[in-house]
């Protein structure tokens, strides 16, 4: 055990022990411990195996980014163990080790490592190609990820939208100070901290640091700043749209906060950079920050004999911390020209170190403090291209971005007082700029509340410049070591890759996969650039850096999916469907009955007696005005100028490219009043399409378009007995076949409900009346129909039955039997294309399409064997070949004909009636089928619908 006596800054609660397991073995820690601190306190040194060479690995940075700390917790893979707090009963395991963490047999690849250089995968597993499936299986076992359990129960993830004036990324001293100053200047501030508490590096600092952290955190709490801890600003997008991943939430597993920040303050501090030398990935080689967190926050001593290679005051402070913790410390000071060359030790970890002067020291802990990486990620995402400062040995922002302000270590160095002063100035500037942005947004709202006063001057950045402390440029020793710990890429791999010609930083990154692993460049980007610069004999500034892209921290798929905001739509008859055995289907936003248990029986009954279907999702647009005929003529390809009051017409709409967009019927209800129906899925599109023409090309047309899809409950009454049924409920319309003919519309009172309209159309191929009832009364009419039709054998039917019946009748469905290339002439309805109209949407393309003999056309198809139903999307091929010449677009077993019926698209050359087709079934079998004379498999003359 290496748990120390109580430390002044410890964040663990010794009164609350927590038991958990590590690879099945009982472990214990305290509330507030991370998995890492509890494991190290329990004497664990090796926590993972490296990705390629299976080398044993221990904690190196001991924070969220630790590339060696990914573990499995229960069914959750890839948990960052130096960040995740322990909980009672937690089952923690090492990931992807085989057969065990201590003895990973694949470590043999480590012996072969001189052969497994960069690009190894590309070179080795290319040929022969037929072995790829085997390669894939072997390579998959090397994937670094944990185990996914398909039986993991569903857990709640959430989303939130926030509109703060200022978002501050980073809750260290400067982030807190900036948030305080901004709030003090009247801004609404959201402060986002990556760790479990505010404080940043002050938390593992000295007494003065900790007092300051407590003071700032208390001030933040009383200043009305909203604080999100264990949360990360994962991305910054256009106009300061920021994505914040909130990992700790009282209810949700994870929450994605989408915050529109008027100003974003970037204050993430600095990330300590590892030093590259032989053996730098041995367990027990750690960064100074890792050691300070272990000792000061968790009272854990990670080693007893330490060698500390330091180039900065933070490294020096680690020496003091270790000595206080009772470790022997030997300091190797880079500023005095001293250096380390090689870490010694076997699979259990570091045992010694060779210094640059040739001395060999024994140690069980080798600490490096070689410098800093500026995590400029959010600045990159805002358009900055940070530049390298040779004297300070790190990158700095180069561009001034009005609504994104950096402070803290990103901006420069100084005493805590100087840094806080800069941060306060940043906070005040952010608040002032947020006000200016707010004013602009207000002013851009033409008809909103009047804006108060003149637009303020854009606040000028008058912050004092921070100094840049010189720092030795330490990247690699005289030996080669690991650069990317996640992806197991060494500096030697990189030098080799550069020699092979992958010598630009972007190419090198992709070829070696350096910076592409779970730590995403936080630790390794600058070393990658430095190694490449050295290999090319250039400076770091000349090589440049890769671009940091979102997300800054991982976001789970659950959080991205989150809570759905899509509305769910149901008709007013829905409760009846639920109570009467309907099996539902999702159709866009609608939930509607697919069937009531027996779609074939529903179809037969509708053909013989009468059936009713809830067709409410059918798109409905109320069109009013003197110029409606012009609009209709423009949208549809056929003629509409002379549609009489009381008549209904079918039409097809095409886009300007001639491709079928939608279809439906439109009826003229009154002199200047029309009702248009669209497909259920096309309602929104057609509305926008109509508005497009009315607002852009023809603003002179006087037409009002109102979407009324949910304003009416729509019921299709179909079957030979439908007239008898409707007659029982409608008294004010003459239903005689000569008085109310096929393709006519009437307003009617149905079952006592006024202001309904009904039309005679026939998608199912039967005599049918489509009733459109003011939505609130839909259920009343539905139940009245069922009651009045009892002796007629009435049964409800669903979408599946309708699909069967319309296919029997040969009616196509836009989007099912047509696709993104199907132009009007392909569907065989030449009477619907009236090219003598002066203009309509898609006219030129449709004119030219008439001459096209190369694109598929829609035909009805019947398989030779009536019992075989080819799957929809089955290919039609030229006999004896694999050449595709068409496909089945719809297929069903017809209960009426007791045989299979299809629609399909085929090349014109095989589209003549009687043409024999070869259809490839899903199991590879080939069947024959025949092209029919008419699209309609039943009643091609339409006697039933006209009855």
């Amino acid at each position: 055990m290496t748990r120390l006596p109580a430390q002044p800054g410890e964040v663990i609660d010794r009164s609350r022990p927590v038991d958990f397991t590590w690879n099945g073995q009982a472990m214990s820690g305290f509330a507030g411990d991370t998995v890492a601190s509890a494991l190290v306190a329990g004497g664990v040194r090796v926590v993972s195996r490296s990705m390629k060479y299976r080398r044993p690995r221990g904690y190196i940075s001991n924070d969220y980014w630790d590339p060696n700390g990914l573990v499995q917790v229960g069914d959750e893979p890839n948990v960052r163990s130096a960040h995740r707090l322990i909980e009672p009963g937690m089952a923690v395991e090492a990931q992807n080790v085989w057969p065990s963490l201590e003895r990973d047999l694949r470590a043999v690849t480590g012996l072969a490592s001189r052969f497994l250089t960069a690009g190894f995968y590309y070179k080795t597993f290319m040929r022969p190609a037929w072995l790829w499936p085997t390669y894939e299986k072997v390579l998959a076992t090397f994937s670094p990820g944990g185990r996914i359990d398909p039986d993991t129960p569903h857990r709640y993830h959430d989303k939130r939208y926030a509109h703060p004036d200022v978002v501050v990324a980073g809750g260290g001293p400067t982030g807190m100070a900036a948030a305080l100053a901004a709030a003090g200047a009247g801004a609404r501030v959201l402060l986002v901290e990556h760790c479990h508490r505010l404080g940043g590096h002050l938390l593992w600092g000295d007494e003065h640091d900790r007092a300051l952290a407590a003071e700032l955190a208390a001030a933040v709490e009383t200043a009305g700043v909203e604080v999100l801890v264990d949360s990360t600003v994962a991305g910054r997008y256009e106009d300061n749209w920021t994505g914040i991943v909130q990992r700790s939430h009282p209810v949700a597993v994870e929450r994605l906060v989408k915050a529109r920040a008027k100003v974003l303050i970037v204050a993430p501090g600095l990330i300590e950079r590892p030093y590259v030398f032989d053996g730098n990935d041995k367990p027990g080689v750690m960064l100074s920050g890792a050691v300070r967190r272990f000792v000061n926050m968790y009272a854990v001593r990670p080693g007893s004999a330490a060698v500390l290679f330091t180039a900065n005051p933070d490294g020096d402070a680690a020496a003091i911390d270790l000595e206080r913790a009772g470790a022997e410390v030997t300091v190797v000071d880079a500023r005095r020209g001293e250096g380390i060359v090689r870490a010694l030790g076997g699979s259990k970890g570091v045992e010694g170190v060779v210094l640059a002067d040739g001395r060999r020291l024994d140690c069980d802990l080798l600490v490096t403090a070689a410098g800093w990486t500026a995590p400029t990620s959010l600045l990159n995402m805002s358009g900055d291209r940070p530049v390298y400062d040779e004297a300070a040995a790190r990158f700095f922002p180069s561009v001034s971005i009005g609504n994104v302000l950096a402070t803290g270590g990103l901006a420069g160095d100084g005493t805590l007082d100087e840094l806080i002063e800069h941060a306060m100035a940043t906070g005040r500037l952010a608040a002032a700029r947020a006000r200016a942005v707010s004013h602009r947004l207000q002013a851009a709202t033409a008809r909103a509340v009047p804006v108060n006063g003149e637009e303020p001057e854009w606040p000028v950045d008058e912050r004092p410049d921070l100094a840049r402390d010189p720092h030795p440029a330490l990247f690699r020793s005289t030996t080669h070591g690991v650069v990317d710990f996640s992806e197991d890429v060494s500096s030697k791999d990189m030098v080799g890759a550069a020699a092979e010609g992958y010598d630009s930083v972007e190419l090198l990154k992709r070829y070696t996969t350096a910076t592409m692993g779970p730590s995403q460049g936080k630790l390794e980007t600058v070393n990658t650039v430095a190694v490449l610069a050295e290999a090319r004999g250039q400076t770091i500034a000349e090589v440049g850096t890769t671009v940091w892209r979102p997300p800054y921290a991982p976001v789970t798929m659950g959080a991205l999916g989150g809570r759905l905001f899509e509305p769910v739509r149901v008709s007013s008859i829905h409760p009846w469907h639920e109570a009467n055995g309907a099996v539902f289907m999702l159709a866009g936003q609608w939930i509607r009955p697919d069937h009531y248990g027996d779609p074939a029986g529903e179809a037969l009954n509708t053909r013989q007696n009468v059936g009713i279907m809830d067709v409410t999702p059918l798109g409905k647009l109320d069109l009013r005005g003197p110029d409606v005929p012009q609009l209709l003529s423009h949208l549809y390809t056929n003629k509409w100028m002379k549609l009489a009051v009381g008549s209904v017409r079918y039409g097809i709409m095409c886009g300007e490219d001639g491709v079928i967009l939608d279809d439906g019927v439109t009826g003229r209800i009154g002199d200047q009043h029309y009702m248009m129906t669209t497909t259920s899925s096309g309602a929104a599109t057609v509305w926008e399409w109509a508005e497009n023409w009315l607002q852009t090309e023809h603003p002179d047309w006087r037409v009002h378009v109102t979407p009324v899809t949910s304003g009416y409950t729509s019921i299709n009454v179909a079957g030979p007995k439908s007239r008898t049924l409707v007659r029982r409920l409608v008294g004010d319309v003459d239903l005689d076949p000569e008085a109310f003919r096929y393709m006519q519309v009437r307003t009617a009172t149905v079952a006592g409900i006024r202001d309904c309209f009904m039309w005679r159309i026939g998608f199912t191929g039967e005599l049918s009346f489509e009733l459109h009832v003011p939505a609130g009364h839909g259920l009343t009419v539905w139940e009245a129909l069922l009651e009045a039709g009892e002796d007629l054998g009435i049964r409800p039917f669903g979408v599946e039955c309708q699909r069967i019946m319309r296919l029997e009748k040969g009616h196509f469905i836009v989007g099912q039997d047509t696709d993104g290339l199907t132009k009007l002439p392909a569907v065989g309805m030449p009477h619907l294309l009236k090219l003598d109209k002066p203009d309509f949407a898609g006219k030129p393309e449709l004119t030219w399409a008439l001459d096209d003999t190369s694109t598929p056309v829609l035909v009805a198809i019947q398989p030779t064997d009536p019992s075989v139903v080819p799957d929809e999307a089955s290919q039609i091929v030229r006999p004896g070949t694999d050449e595709i010449i068409g496909r089945i677009t719809s297929s069903r077993m017809s209960p009426t004909l007791e045989r299979s019926v299809c629609l399909g698209q085929v090349l014109p050359e095989v589209s003549r009636p009687g043409s024999e087709l070869t259809v490839v079934m899903i199991d590879g079998r080939r069947i024959t089928a025949r092209v029919m004379e008419h699209h309609a498999h039943i009643d091609p003359e339409g006697e039933r619908v006209r009855g």
Binding site: A444, D657, E691, Q695, P699
Partner: protein
Amino acid sequence: MLIVPCPNCGPRNAADLRYVGESRPRPDPNSASAKEWRAYLYERANPAGMLRETWYCRSGCRRYFVLERDTVSNEFTNPPTPVAKLGKRP
């Protein structure tokens, strides 16, 4: 996500609108050659710089309008113009 200044609804998330794209005049459908018509359908200048483009405020006022945007900086410059006021064909 971009903020788009709708002339009626004010600044809105781009997801509230539909991006119609580069504004192009519609050729005369009765005299246009295939080349002209397909240029209208498919060809876009796609400049790095100022672009006149059409938006549709689908979740708000339901109006089409034209904006000028710098495609490099994503800044909108001119106040929006209702499409109808642009006149019809050139």
